[in-house]
Point group: C2
């Protein structure tokens, strides 16, 4: 540990008072309206009048903070209205838009009291909240069962990032890039994959990484990303990843498994870029000793696919066409067998990224997504080559009128850690 | 970083072959039967014939590993039957009990083919899976909507740990205790709460901590636990915690917020004890300079409440009686105002812990849980005292015939980091 890192002075010993209150909407009225209007467009399209939002990622999208509670939105009425269980310290600028509650059954009464007639058919986040929670919320609005699903509309809205969101992603990309630039300094002889990963995790945290890796859905579990080398990359995981890894324990069977980093073996680093609440996704290759020409060629191909797809990412492009192009380039190089995995193949070559790591659009063969300006997309055309290991890079791009602009700007060539 | 830590030798450069296959049931037949029989008892009680399990924590409970797929259980039929989406490498001892599938709609056909007549009314994990997922699974079994909920039965079954589970918890407690013993060596002058936390996270990971902090339900989010000092402990969080903390960012508003560690200020460490797939929960206090008598007295009171409650944890005891005893002891010491928080009070003094951090039983005023032999319970009678900060300890206990046996054995007194 570098001495002198912790150089703050002990000044007053007196303890600060905790804050009296916290603003519930950190976005400001304009930015919130911008996000809501995208959601209202979707509600309009599907003829949904009102919705109750509870998922942490969606609450964060609508307010810039996470709290425990609910947001009631109505595309034709006033609002949004906040129903807060915790923390008790939240305040809204307009007192008549926020209510502290103990349970969701109180929401309807508050709405009635302020003259907001909630629709008989309120949409819920059916992809995000448990079946029991959905049934309870439906009951709290007098319905026998949940019916309308607001989740796909929120997912679509969140796929196009506002300038303020793009700014957070750019700042995450900068931090992420800096951490990757330091990786060769973290390596020490004799390290296993997990040893290097732990040092990268620590440096990431020191640079402000929040650690939490938000994943939509309730199936996929990851800690802070993966460092893979050797045969371990070709161990299929429970998830739809090109790279697998046995992990350290069958309770979390993914990623580093304690494989020793050996000369000439590519080491693939794909760790959490959540520095701002919005996360970038970036993968780079590192090595000790000499890297084979075959590994270098595959890495160049991966970077070339990224560049080609980024230049094709024009608003209006079909996401599936990007996927097709990637597979064609892999096939031309005779690499089909290793593309997006070897013993187990991931079904996509890219994905939206933002508050969560698996957002829209999805760059996959049967994707119906159309690329839009403001999409933020991670491309990860990777290979697993038997006897060589995991090879390839991943970048995050912001889609503009002239294609994808890369915001994960570490050099794309394999980096020596010697 | 200590030199010589990474001392493995580069031997053969040849890459291992990945493993041909992995056993799906790592528990062995007897242990799995032991766990299933607890679940079948619950199904019997609620007249549920069969259930489909998908939640990662429950899959881990039933097999000792996480995979992406489903487990079909029938209290009167053969089985369990495994339906695996990923990884492709899983194998069962008896081939006719495991099927690789691409989607859950294939499950019923496989069951039909092997002569297992799935009930018209299959129970699902309605507290654990999304409303959309539950609807889809119900449809895959010919039902128009999900109806029976297996989640509470699994929660009850998992509340009583088998000897094999207790062994994993004991081993996590040992690692957890070792890491806490090293905390004074991690402190450097000028550190903020987050700086110390990062060093504890790193050491935890080096000692085998899996990092992942499993939490039941979809509301609570935490990274690797919390280090709190000063006024920050009295900042209410979105969750039902005695201690809060603003966190580093409003997207994860809990825990360390960058407060400088100052002489005389208690530093409360409550970080992830997941070393084996089963996690222990432990909190200890650290400080620099001199700690006030008031802080020491409150810490002693916390330890005394723990000891008293542990001795009361006899099978058959009402969980709510433990809570009452804790509040009485706090009141006798004139500490009611600060007990389980100050500006925000947690509604419990303890909770079950195991695969997830919030298991049964819950030690709370309205809890109907009854303490059973084999329960594993974390007790955390903590205080937040204005001008002093967070004070108290937390231990994890295994309930036996003579009360709770502590498995988080770090010394309970506040520890100087000077």
């Amino acid at each position: 540990m570098p001495t002198g890192r912790y150089n703050q002075k002990h000044q007053s010993k007196k303890m600060k008072e905790p804050q009296d209150y916290l603003q519930i909407n950190l976005l400001g009225a304009d930015e919130q309206r911008r996000r809501l209007s995208r959601i209202y467009d979707g509600m309009d399209h599907y003829d949904i009048d009102c919705a109750l939002i509870r998922d942490n990622a969606n609450i964060y999208y609508l307010t810039g903070r996470v709290f425990r509670g609910y947001i009631y939105i109505d595309r034709r009425g006033p609002g949004p209205f906040y129903f807060v269980r915790q923390p008790s310290t939240l305040r809204a600028d307009r007192m008549d838009t926020m209510f502290h509650i103990r349970k969701p059954e109180e929401i309807r009464g508050h709405l009635d009291k302020i003259g907001v007639r909630s629709s008989a058919n309120i949409a819920l986040e059916l992809d995000n909240i448990s079946s029991s929670a959905a049934t309870r919320l439906a009951g709290a609005f007098g319905m026998t069962a949940p019916s309308l699903n607001i989740s796909p509309i929120l997912r679509q809205a969140r796929a196009v990032k506002t300038p303020a969101e793009q700014d957070k992603l750019i700042r995450s990309g900068q931090k992420h890039t800096y951490v990757y630039s330091r990786i060769p300094h973290l390596y020490q002889e004799g390290m296993r994959d997990i040893d290097l990963q732990i040092e990268i995790e620590r440096l990431s945290r020191q640079e402000g990484c929040l650690g939490l890796f938000r994943i939509a859905g309730d199936e996929m579990e990851l800690f802070m990303g993966n460092v893979l080398t050797g045969h371990n990359a070709d161990e299929p995981s429970p998830y739809d990843f090109a790279m697998g890894g046995l992990g350290l324990d069958p309770s979390l069977p993914v990623g580093a498994d304690g494989t020793l980093i050996k000369p000439g073996w590519p080491v693939m680093v794909d760790v959490n870029g959540n520095y701002t609440g919005y996360m970038t996704d970036m993968t780079r290759m590192y090595y000790i000793g000499e890297l084979s020409d075959e590994a270098r060629r595959a890495c160049s191909l991966s970077a070339e696919i990224c560049r080609t797809l980024a230049s094709m990412m024009l608003p209006g492009t079909k996401a599936c066409d990007l996927y097709t192009k990637a597979t064609e380039m892999a096939a031309e190089a005779g690499m089909t067998e290793y593309f997006m995995g070897h013993r187990s193949h991931a079904g996509f070559v890219g994905h939206g990224v933002g508050i969560e790591v698996n957002e829209l659009p999805v760059i996959a063969p049967r994707s119906r997504d159309i690329i839009s300006s403001g999409n933020v997309i991670a491309l990860e055309p990777k290979f697993v080559i038997p006897g060589i290991g995991p090879v390839g890079i991943e970048n995050t791009y912001i889609v503009g009128s002239d294609g994808g602009r890369c915001i994960t700007t570490a050099p794309e060539e394999p980096v020596s850690m010697d």
